[in-house]
């Protein structure tokens, strides 16, 4: 394909195409995550998981069909179909506008944040890495945080609009939790950017630059921030679990005491929007974590994309390097999502007061201390 | 009847309890009075004593007296008169109470005796309680829980005897189960006066049979089944139908004749399975006739009347008929109705300004428990004032009135008018309102048929030949489409233009106790299970048809003596 043809298109067409492409990847990925969740939970619990669904017209295919059936892929399609086609009730006592708006609002931040997350890079003719990203804005991480923080509205509105006790409690819990952990999360990434923006470099909040700064030559330069700043990574990880409402922190749902939390009154398609949004959140969150702490698309610490593409003799082809980088990145994200699920089916849920104590009394002081420590350390290094 | 007032009371001591009983009272009966159960098989209070089962062994003793001086010998240990205990146990059933008699029933020796007797009895008794109809009311079963070993020391082959001998049309004998108590033989001989049963062969070959060429087919044969302490004699009708522990027992009356034998109706979930006699020493002792035991078949008979319409619709039609020819009606009551129904029938006749008739049924009495008057409650009709004189066998008078055109409407309360002597042409001339339980010529000819309940489906009272008011209770619910007699009559009275009547038993009794002279001061709830004898003097002159029976001597016979 001649790439110049693509770049001749008007910018809004290109942006739309790119957006559609990313959504076309993100949505099935989120759906696949839901199936993966079921399979992984089943395997952890010693069950086979969904392994029966198969459309009759595919049954004849000899090897592939049974394997797909065992993996439950058709179950995924069946579930999706069910969500779309089943009756979508709106209870009589709800505030209809916000009730319908809430699941849509859930999707918006989930899909918007992906715009500033680079998912790969290729090497241009000069050998410099160019990011593969929808909008390579300078304030990348801030944009992620800013738009991500809007996710709280869907939860709080869904809980409130349901006009029912459990959803309301779920909504209140969720919003308090989201606001609380945002602090630690933001503070935990500051050392990373302090390091990246050490005097001499150009001031940036771009995620791409963070990734690139993890593949510098030398022992320190090639180190991933996950290794360099384990405390930051840890705080970010915990806060990420809380922000995505994943298991140890799934206060808003906590079906044991709140039925279904904020989405108790939801069903069918609207419910599935919440569901997909949660997985989109997970994917984006995992992506950010990978970019910040796990070297993004660089295969290993001290082994950068450039080196690998040089070894493979594909450095000259933007398409191949871009694909390689994207694959590496996606691989890491998928592994990280697996970690999410693994943790979910291992740890029990926190009590709500424990969640708040952990957020405000443990993580926040820790992240502040961490920030101060790294600031001092960077200052000392600079001095030296 | 002999009055027991003259008998002398003696004091006996049973298991340490003193009790005064009439002299000559059987020790088993005396023990029962102090609440001590002496197990027995062959003894029956209404039969002669033979003492062949040996189960009622007791220790017996008399106060010691000095043979020479006749002075009481005192026991220094207790300070009381010394008791001379007979060293070996005696049978209780053959011992009569005498002054100072001492009885012990709970000593180790007696216990040992009973266990020994039980073991002997069970040696040849088959262990087929699961298929035995007597299970649940079997004396052998009961006593073996107290005195049985729980296992058998008898290793030899058990006796094999005929399993289903038909002693008669209604009684089946399982010889293996028989413990040779001879109650049935004594009953046939002494009560039924039909000496057909006896033992043949000896030792373990002993077998109960009928005399050659004869059968146990008298009308009291099923009483042998009732008194059989084990499952040897079984009722062919009830055999294998239902276990007795499922059955609900309801006190009722035998309505086949004016004797009014007391009965128990055994039913389960609305289905009657059998009828057995209930002990009433003033009426039927513990017996009843076989013919009375089959009356329950009428409840589920093919010919049972039921209505498709509602009672209101039926009554509306009856009302139109009654209004059609006012003053030209007649009421035919029944001697089979209860006292309460007869009272309401009387009220109905008065409301219609109509004459009331009763149909008499007579046949030869057998001198025991079936009397000549086959209506159970003719005296009830007299007491309530439904009729003044004894009824005729045929309704000739009514027939004549119909022929004269003086009667256009006949209300028949449970009587078949054709059987009562009216001809088909006479029936065709009148509009009939028929209340009844079974299809009959009268119900076929009737303009309105109101199905009612059988005696097993309602409660009430009847007056027997002794002018004894006896209660019967509701054993089962009536079928759909049959209506309570009292309610039907009460609403008919309203339809006939009379004042409204209460239709429940208590309400009717409230009126009976005030309006009927003979029943003054009697209340339904207070009538004892053995009945209450009414003052019969107003009707002493009437020529009742009954002859002498078990506990009844008619006034004529008494006068003749």
């Amino acid at each position: 394909m001649d790439s110049s043809l693509y770049f001749d298109l008007p910018i809004w067409v290109r942006v739309t195409l790119q957006g559609v492409a990313v959504i076309a990847v993100l949505f099935p990925l989120a759906a696949a995550c839901s199936m993966a969740e079921r399979k992984i939970s089943a395997w952890i619990q010693g069950r086979p998981g969904p392994n029966r669904t198969i459309p009759p017209f595919l049954r004849w295919i000899p090897v592939v069909a049974p394997v797909l059936q065992k993996l439950g892929l058709f179950q995924l399609a069946a579930d999706g179909g069910k969500f779309v086609f089943k009756e979508d009730p709106i209870p009589g006592h709800v505030n209809k506008v916000y009730f319908v708006l809430a699941p849509i609002l859930a999707m918006i931040p989930a899909l918007t944040t992906i715009a500033v997350v680079p998912f790969g890079a290729y090497l241009d003719s000069a050998g410099r890495a160019v990011p593969l990203v929808l909008a390579n804005v300078d304030v990348g991480i801030l944009a992620v945080f800013a738009v991500g923080s809007l996710g709280v509205y869907s939860v709080i509105l869904a809980g409130w609009a349901s006009n029912s006790k459990y959803p309301f409690l779920g909504g209140v819990r969720a919003s308090a939790q989201l606001i609380s952990y945002e602090l630690s999360m933001t503070l935990s990434v500051l050392p990373v950017f302090l390091w990246v923006n050490a005097p001499g470099g150009s001031g940036t909040l771009s995620l791409f630059d963070v990734v690139q700064s993890q593949s510098q030559p030398g022992f320190w330069g090639g180190m991933w921030y996950g290794v360099l700043m384990p405390i930051s990574a840890f705080i970010f990880l915990v806060a990420l679990f809380a922000e995505t409402n994943r298991q140890p922190f799934d206060m808003p749902e906590s079906e044991a005491d709140l039925v279904g939390g904020f989405h108790t009154e939801y069903g069918a398609f609207k419910w599935s929007l919440f569901f997909v949004a949660e997985y989109c959140h997970m994917i984006v969150g995992s992506g950010v974590f990978v970019l910040l702490f796990l070297g993004g698309w660089h295969p290993l610490p001290w082994v950068s994309l450039e080196m690998v593409s040089g070894w493979l003799h594909i450095a000259g082809s933007p398409v191949l390097t871009g694909a390689l980088a994207t694959l590496l990145f996606l691989g890491k994200v998928v592994a990280f999502i697996f970690f999410f699920m693994w943790v979910r089916w291992t740890l029990p849920r926190f009590r709500y007061d424990q969640v708040m104590t952990l957020g405000w009394q443990k993580l926040l002081p820790l992240s502040i201390a961490n920030l101060i420590a790294y600031a001092l350390a960077i200052a000392l290094i600079e001095r030296a | 009847m002999t009055s027991p007032a003259k008998t002398e009371l003696v004091t006996v001591n049973i298991d340490g309890k003193e009790i005064a009983v009439p002299k000559g009272t059987n020790v088993i009966e005396a023990a029962r009075l102090v609440g001590v159960d002496v197990p027995h098989y062959c003894y029956h209070p209404k039969l002669s004593v033979v003492g062949n089962c040996r189960m009622c062994l007791v220790e017996m003793g008399m106060p010691a007296v000095d043979p020479a001086t006749k002075a009481p010998v005192m026991d220094p240990a207790t300070g009381r008169q010394k008791i001379n205990w007979i060293p070996r146990p005696q049978i209780g059933c053959a011992t009569n109470a005498s002054p100072g008699l001492h009885i012990r029933t709970q000593t180790p020796q007696i216990r040992d005796c009973r266990e020994g007797v039980m073991e002997f009895l069970l040696i040849n008794h088959p262990l087929d309680c699961p298929i035995c109809d007597q299970a649940g009311e079997c004396k052998l079963q009961e006593q073996s829980t107290g005195y049985g070993r729980g296992y058998s020391r008898f290793v030899e082959q058990k006796n094999v005897k005929p399993k289903r001998t038909q002693l008669g049309p209604r009684v089946t004998l399982d010889d293996e189960r028989c413990i040779l108590c001879s109650r049935c033989i004594r009953f046939s001989k002494e009560i039924a006066k039909d000496d057909v049963l006896g033992f043949i062969d000896r030792g373990s070959y002993s077998t109960l049979t009928c005399y050659p060429g004869r059968k146990l087919e008298n009308n009291y044969s099923l009483n042998t089944v009732d008194i059989c302490p084990v499952g040897a004699l079984t009722s062919t009708d009830f055999r294998f139908k239902m276990r007795v522990w499922f059955l609900k027992q309801t006190n009722s009356l035998d309505t086949e004749s004016s004797v009014g034998a007391n009965t128990v109706v055994w039913s389960r979930e609305g289905v009657i399975y059998r009828i057995t006699p209930r002990r009433n020493d003033e009426v039927n002792d513990t017996w009843m006739a076989d013919s009375g035991r089959l009356l329950y078949k009428a409840v589920r008979a093919e010919s049972r009347l039921t209505a498709k319409e509602s009672l209101a619709a039926l009554l509306a039609r009856a009302e139109t008929i009654l209004r059609l020819s006012p003053g030209l009606a007649a009421v035919v009551g029944s001697g089979q109705s209860s006292v309460e129904e007869q009272f309401l029938t009387r009220q109905l006749a008065r409301a219609l300004h109509a004459p009331a008739y009763l149909v008499s049924r007579t046949a030869a009495g057998d001198g025991i428990l079936v009397s000549a008057d086959r209506n159970p409650n003719v005296r009830g009709a007299l007491v309530t004032g439904l009729i003044d004189t004894l009824p005729q066998s045929y309704l000739d008078e009514l027939g004549a009135a119909i022929d004269r055109g003086e009667v256009r409407t006949v209300v028949s309360v449970g009587e078949d008018l054709m059987a009562a002597g009216l001809s088909a042409t006479q029936l065709a001339k009148v509009s009939i309102i028929h209340l009844g339980t079974q299809v009959c010529a009268s119900s076929v000819a009737a303009a309105v048929v109101i199905p009612t309940l059988t005696v097993f489906e309602k409660a009430g009272t009847m007056v027997n030949q002794q002018f004894r008011l006896q209660r019967f209770a509701k054993a089962v619910a009536g079928p759909v489409g049959a209506f309570d007699d009292l309610e039907v009559l009460a609403r008919l009275i309203t339809a006939a233009g009379g004042s409204a009547e209460t239709s429940d038993l208590a309400g009717v009794w409230g009126r009976l106790a005030t309006e009927v002279p003979a029943l003054r001061g009697v209340s339904y709830a207070a009538v004892p299970e053995t009945g209450v004898v009414l003052d019969s003097s107003p009707w002493a002159a009437l020529p009742f048809v009954e002859g002498e029976s078990l506990h009844h001597r008619p006034a004529r016979a008494v006068a003749n003596v």
Binding site: W43, G46, W342, T346 | -
Partner: protein, 182 residues
């Protein structure tokens, strides 16, 4: 009763972070993740029914094919939810089994009422009713869920019988018929 305060062992710093425990938990779940499944794939694989299992109550025949039930109705009596309904009947005198005298004319067990308590099996003097391994009873109507006699015998099949007391009885009867009384 004396109150004995039990001092909780103070947590170490590592324990208070919970991280070692979480890692330990993750290890455990990962072991299970790769371990083989422990579940049965039900319709294809059936569980092994342990001895003494109380499944659907059934009626059984003895090794000679004779129905063991003599309709004594003890099970009907003892049944706590009143699920059993028996209509007793007499065996015709010309039947080969006439010596048993009694057999159920109808035997219905309402499986909608049955609570699988096993008291019927416990009480049966003839060992004719058994709660066997059948555990799945389904039906579309209430009527279907009532097991009639035929179905009960179909489900129950034949069980070995150590005693065969009715055969012994029959033999004794035959001997008596040939050789006089004993």
């Amino acid at each position: 009763m004396a109150v004995i305060p039990v001092e909780r062992k103070p947590l170490t710093l590592a324990e208070r972070t919970y991280i070692p425990q979480i890692v330990h938990g993750l290890k455990t779940t990962f072991r299970h993740l790769v371990a083989p499944n422990v579940t049965l794939e039900y319709p294809e694989q059936r569980p092994e029914i342990p001895g003494g299992y109380r499944g659907v109550p059934t009626l059984v025949r003895d090794p000679n094919g004779r129905e063991k039930c003599v309709s004594c109705q003890l099970c009907e009596f003892v049944c706590p939810p009143k699920a059993i309904r028996i209509t007793p009947g007499e065996i015709a005198s010309d039947s080969a089994q006439a010596h048993v005298e009694r057999a159920p004319q109808a035997f219905d067990i309402d499986m909608l009422r049955c609570i699988y308590c096993g008291l019927c099996q416990e009480v049966c003097p003839e060992e004719a009713i058994w709660l066997q391994t059948q555990y799945s009873m389904t039906g579309y109507t209430r009527e279907e869920m009532v097991n009639h006699k035929d179905r009960l015998y179909e489900l129950g099949g034949t069980l070995p019988d150590a005693h065969l007391k009715w055969d012994k009885k029959k033999a004794a009867e035959d001997a008596a018929a040939h050789g006089g009384h004993h």
